[in-house]
């Protein structure tokens, strides 16, 4: 019996200065197979469909269970996590390419450090006094926890930024992921002490007003964060903050 196979087309680029080429692979199908399994199979046998030796594919991956946020890439044109992309749910040939909005490193690997820089800029942390024993934290009621917890599920995969028409060099837009973290920390009884600073950080160029409400972010988010509602809420807070700052002179 002939083995069932899976067809892949993978965009390869040896470095940012090298030309991009597409390579075809034909791999043995296995039940439950995902796109990261395909990458591992290629590493163990780096040969294209036409029998030409090639190199193992460079890509980011870590947990393989869609919680670390590493393996975001474009699969059949859509930004998603390679580990939770099962080949049985994808049309073949499965076309895999790197995220397009971030500097390319090699093959499917890109540099997403901009998100971590953005998180610094909005002070996405709780300013605790110290780690010594200061007793229990503030009371948080379950109703509040149920609002905050989903926002804290962001895995920094940057899919929301990849699909946002406004996320580009021209606007310098921070993107939905960072805005969600602003809401999370502003909601916290201690975190809100930095609320004004966070809102001001979102008020300037590249801030929240760049959002064009295309709503692609909420559609593509693998963790289903309520991104568009969050952007609306934070937009309103930023406007109020701007008004207050204006009146204060």
């Amino acid at each position: 019996m002939a083995t069932k196979t899976v067809q892949f087309e993978i965009k390869r680029q040896a470095s940012p200065d090298d030309p991009a080429v597409w390579e075809r692979f034909e791999l043995e199908w296995r039940p439950g197979m995902n796109v990261t399994t395909a990458m591992m199979d290629i590493a163990a046998n780096p040969v294209t469909a036409s029998g030409k030796p090639t190199t193992p594919v460079t890509y980011d991956s870590c947990c393989l269970e869609e919680i670390c946020g590493s393996c975001a890439m474009r699969i059949n044109g859509r930004a998603r996590m390679a580990c939770s992309s099962l080949v049985d749910n994808l049309e073949q040939p499965i076309r895999v390419e790197p995220l397009s909005k971030f500097p390319l490193v090699r093959d499917l690997q890109v540099d997403r450090a901009v998100l971590f820089e953005n998180l610094k800029a909005v002070k996405a942390w709780i300013p605790i006094d110290g780690t010594y024993d200061l007793g229990s934290g503030p009371r948080v009621y379950p109703q509040q926890q149920e609002i905050n917890y989903p926002l804290s599920n962001c895995i920094s995969c940057t899919c929301c930024m990849e699909v946002c028409p406004q996320f580009n060099e021209e606007t310098g837009f921070v993107g939905a992921a960072t805005i969600a973290q602003v809401k999370l920390f502003n909601n916290h009884p201690t975190g809100k002490v930095l609320k004004e600073e966070r809102l001001r950080a979102l008020a300037g160029d590249g801030g929240i007003q760049e959002c064009g409400f295309a709503q692609n972010c909420v559609e593509v988010c693998p963790k289903k964060l309520p991104l568009t509602n969050t952007i609306s809420d934070v937009s309103r807070d930023v406007l109020v903050q701007k008004a207050k700052d204006f009146l204060r002179g």
């Binding site: 040896a14 193992p56 269970e65 905050n148 920094s156």
Partner: protein, 590 residues
């Protein structure tokens, strides 16, 4: 004098905890991590973190937490550090709460707790079923705060290759590889804190992330650091079998009432839901009436093995059993277990709200690790180890939800100790060792890059994983373990003929992997040979030919040291000053 710079390798819970303590005390840290620290393997922890806060009116105490942990670990852990950890636990939870971890809450706004394996108390604080992710993020945020103040410099995308040790045998820094530019560099520091996590990759498929290779631990082991209790490997009872990895299905599923069962009739072809209650065999509940589905992991894993391989009752004849949540209402499941149920549905295609999950045990955690003292320092002055890569908190079997605690606690211990050590460390005399170590690493890299032969490192790795999983996990026989050791020796030999399909000097992942593989092979021998020598059964280490615990001969810590011809073993007395070892048994009714 300026505050000393300290190197921390690894940015999971343990590493970040140490970084925070050092930065808070005025030190500065160079933090190295293969991945951006926010993507570290700690995010995979699901169920929760233990602390005897006694917020459920059960009379829980830190002593009971201590006793459960020592008993659960079959008395192999040194008792002093475990006792201190359990006593510190309530304060750790308070701190995490203050850092903003979105823990689940009671109606009154207090922390909620659930039950986990190996205890009769609701002692586990949790944030849905993504507790590790939430804890890691909280620490990551605090470290980002220190980073923005200039107290922490991150080297993300750098891989630790070795320690730099001077002519007096003291740590003086590390060598590391930039995984993008492939630049090799050495970095100076009197203190190196290793927080490099687990070793799952040695077993091929496990619940671990792909970065959990144990390569760093193995590298320092080969430089003279002692490795302890390597043979104690936790196989988690409930995982989702997969082609690329075994995905964890948290113990919290059972903590919230999940039941494990198989059809009473071998080969029953009906879908699980159609099998009536009377025809289901809830074997954990029958065999262990007091703890039921919440027996410790080693016990549950062996029970599943027995029901599948001895009683031949696996689902449809396959090595799988049901983990059933369908009797619990949807809203409760979503509130308490949402994250992991989504994962099951995404990867398997069935909705666990409606259909019992199919699970099987998988390699999960190493209780063994780098030998350290109570201050977390290894036998080489200046080198510390914390988190899963140290050996000291879990004995022969770790209780669920103690790992997040041990990571953070060990980081909190190591940070201040390391800073004090760095301030007082003897000044450099003679050669600092940097030039020699750089030369050694340069040569290793050059040799690997131009090596010719017919071996593919990824294929060798699969063979290693197969033999380790077959011989060195749930059930161990000396004959099989010896076969595994011979296989590893063969693989070490074949490794000499590894040739890389990619010889470039830019983001070359197979090069980095091949370096890790060599270290995995050396550490695999420590695991296998340690298991051969331990002719008893204790915790996760189970030999049918030696089914009883033998305190006379083996209530001892295994210590392995590297030699060119293989590991050399010695044994150390265990600190049992607080709780006298007693027979470990979870099947009693009372």
């Amino acid at each position: 004098m300026a505050a000393p710079r300290i190197i921390v390798v690894g940015g999971g819970l343990a590493g970040l905890s140490a970084v925070i303590k050092i930065a808070e005390a005025g030190g500065t840290v160079d933090l190295f991590s293969i991945v951006p620290v926010k993507r570290s393997h700690s995010v995979c922890a699901q169920g929760g973190i233990n602390a005897a806060k006694n917020l459920k009116g059960e009379g829980d105490t830190t002593w009971k937490h201590f006793d459960d942990s020592i008993y659960g670990g079959d008395f192999l852990a040194n008792q002093t550090p475990v006792k201190l950890m359990c006593e510190a636990a309530p304060g750790v939870i308070d701190l995490l709460d203050r850092m903003g971890v979105p823990f689940n809450r009671t109606p009154e706004g207090l922390l909620d707790f659930r039950r986990f394996g190996g205890t009769l108390y609701n002692r586990t604080a949790f944030a849905g079923a993504t507790t590790g992710q939430q804890l890691l993020y909280a620490l990551d945020e605090q470290v980002r705060r220190y980073e923005s103040e200039g107290k922490v410099k991150k080297y993300e995308g750098w891989e630790f290759l070795s320690a730099v040790i001077d002519s007096k045998g003291m740590a003086r820094g590390i060598t590391a590889l930039d995984l993008r530019t492939m630049e090799l560099r050495s970095f100076a520091s009197n203190v190196v804190i290793l927080a490099t996590g687990g070793i799952g990759a040695i077993f091929g498929k496990s619940t671990n992330s792909v970065v959990c290779t144990g390569s760093a631990q193995s590298a320092v082991y080969q430089q003279g650091v002692t490795y302890a209790n390597g043979e104690f490997i936790q196989v988690h009872p409930t995982c989702i079998p997969g082609e690329d990895k075994l995905r964890l299905m948290s113990e919290s599923a059972r903590g919230e009432g999940g039941r494990v069962w198989v059809p009473r009739t071998p080969g029953d072809k009906r879908p699980g839901r159609q099998i009536p209650e009377a025809e289901r065999f809830y074997f954990l509940e029958e065999w262990y009436p007091k703890y039921g589905n919440l027996v410790p992991r080693d016990i549950a894993t062996r029970a599943i093995h027995k029901v599948v391989y001895e009683n031949h009752l696996g689902i449809d004849g396959q090595p799988m059993v049901y983990l059933d949540l369908t009797h619990i209402d949807r809203a409760t499941l979503d509130r308490k277990l949402g994250g992991i149920l989504d994962i099951y549905e995404k990867f398997v295609g069935d909705d666990p709200h409606d259909v019992p999950m199919k699970i099987f045990p998988g390699m999960h955690y190493t209780m063994g690790g780098v030998w350290v003292g109570v201050d977390q320092m290894t036998n080489i002055p200046g080198i510390y180890a914390i988190g899963e890569c140290d050996y000291q908190y879990h004995g022969a079997n770790r209780l669920g939800a103690n790992s997040l605690l041990s990571c953070i606690y060990a980081g909190f211990v190591a940070g201040p100790h390391a800073l004090n050590y760095a301030k007082s460390a003897a000044a450099q005399e003679g050669d600092d060792g940097h030039a020699a170590e750089l030369a050694r690493q340069t040569e290793l890299n050059a040799k690997l890059l131009k090596n010719e032969g017919e071996e593919n490192p990824f294929k060798l790795w699969r063979e290693l994983g197969d033999t380790m999983t077959k011989h060195a996990t749930v059930i161990r026989y000396n004959k099989g373990l010896k076969e595994a050791d011979e296989k590893i020796v063969e693989l070490i030999d074949r490794y000499k003929k590894v040739s890389l399909a990619d010889r470039s000097q830019w983001a070359n992942t197979s090069f980095a992997f091949a370096r890790q593989l060599k270290n995995m092979l050396e550490l695999a021998r420590v695991i296998v040979q340690g298991a051969i020598l331990r002719d008893e059964s204790r915790g996760a280490h189970y030999k049918p030919d030696f089914p009883e615990r033998d305190d006379e001969r083996f209530l001892k810590t295994t210590k392995a040291s590297y030699t060119a011809s293989g590991p050399r073993f010695e044994y150390e007395e265990v600190d049992t000053q607080f709780i006298k070892p007693r027979r470990r048994s979870y099947d009693a009714v009372n």
